[in-house]
């Protein structure tokens, strides 16, 4: 099994390793179709320019979410379980951009059910511009042998 982070290995202020992705039209279209999002601004450049006033097709909301999920669980390992994710798209990401994911640990806690939680501040940048700001709450094993995915009902408080 791949890397596995446990709560005792995390502290406030820790930085997640950056992740850079070069975006091309296929990146945008693949993400839109994987999300079953058929809206033309995610595959038709003319439509995006003429109707949305953007310079090109752009990455859609669920694709953005999927990238943040991947970024978080690349760091936690497979036992990391997302409880909540919130993001604000301040600007769009277009073909030709290199988008870079960044993150910091803002909080570490164990809830009253014994679940270990890490609060993350994440952001996505293109050049010197932040295009998306994100907060994520992810459960990681409170100790070796713990597994957040086994939690059900009142033991899961996302």
């Amino acid at each position: 099994m791949d890397t596995q982070l446990t709560l005792d290995q995390v502290k406030v202020g820790d930085a997640l390793p950056e992740l850079a992705i070069d975006v091309n039209p296929t990146t945008v279209v693949l993400g839109a179709l994987a999300a079953r999002d058929w809206r033309p601004m995610h595959h038709d450049k003319d439509f995006a320019q003429e109707r949305n006033g953007t310079k090109h097709v752009f990455i859609n909301t669920p694709h953005n979410a999927a990238y943040f999920e991947r970024y978080v669980t690349d760091w936690t390992g497979p036992h990391g379980r997302l409880g909540k994710i919130q993001f604000r798209m301040k600007d769009s990401v277009f073909p030709g951009d290199t988008m870079v994911f960044h993150g910091n640990v803002e909080g570490v806690e164990t809830d009253d059910a014994g679940c270990g939680w890490v609060q993350l501040r994440l952001w996505l940048s293109v050049g010197d511009k932040t295009t998306t700001e994100c907060n994520a709450r992810v459960a990681v094993p409170a100790r070796e042998g713990d597994n957040p995915w086994k939690r059900r009902g009142d033991a899961w408080k996302p």
């Binding site: 994987a34 058929w38 949305n52």
Partner: protein
């Protein structure tokens, strides 16, 4: 809010468009989604890892909206079905032909598994006063989407903030 049509004001807080997904959760889309972001998490690619960690295969949690997005075409359908229909209703009723999503919050419950058939409904939470952004003049709105599995188990809630606008 006074200049928001009464019909739209009446939608606020109401449970609308309760519906079942058009197909079962399936692994083909799970693999396609993981490939689209190069997500190599073994719980999505390896049965052994999935059995050990998640008691069998699951879908990436952030795929939750995928399972209720309608087919682009289906027999007998005369108009294209829209996901998040409340969003499109607002565009029409408020006369705002363009729209983008600005904020998305997702809270995750029970894992979604291949073979599940999800149920969903939408609730309009708010409509803003008129605003002008670099895209144009319009309004923001907040829509919640709640998801359950076939056993009535809560699997997640999404909250979208949309901005509907007119390019003048």
């Amino acid at each position: 809010m006074s200049d928001v049509p009464a019909e739209v004001q009446g939608w606020i807080g109401q449970k609308r468009y309760e519906e079942q997904g058009e197909f079962d959760v399936e692994r083909g889309y799970i693999f396609t989604s993981c490939a689209s972001v190069e997500n190599g998490n073994p719980i999505f690619w390896s049965d052994k890892a999935a059995n050990e960690v998640t008691d069998g295969p699951i879908a990436p949690p952030t795929m939750i909206s995928v399972w209720f997005r309608p087919h682009h075409w289906a027999p007998g359908r005369s108009e294209q079905a829209q996901p998040l229909q409340v969003h499109f209703d607002l565009k029409e009723k408020l006369g705002l032909p363009e729209a983008v999503m600005t904020d998305n919050t997702i809270t995750f419950g029970e894992p979604v598994r291949p073979g599940d058939r999800l149920k969903t409904w939408q609730v309009l939470r708010s409509v803003s006063e008129p605003k002008t952004t670099k895209l144009g003049a319009g309004r923001f709105w907040v829509i919640d989407v709640v998801y359950e599995n076939q056993d009535g188990g809560w699997v997640g809630t999404e909250s979208y903030t949309g901005f509907g606008y007119r390019r003048d």
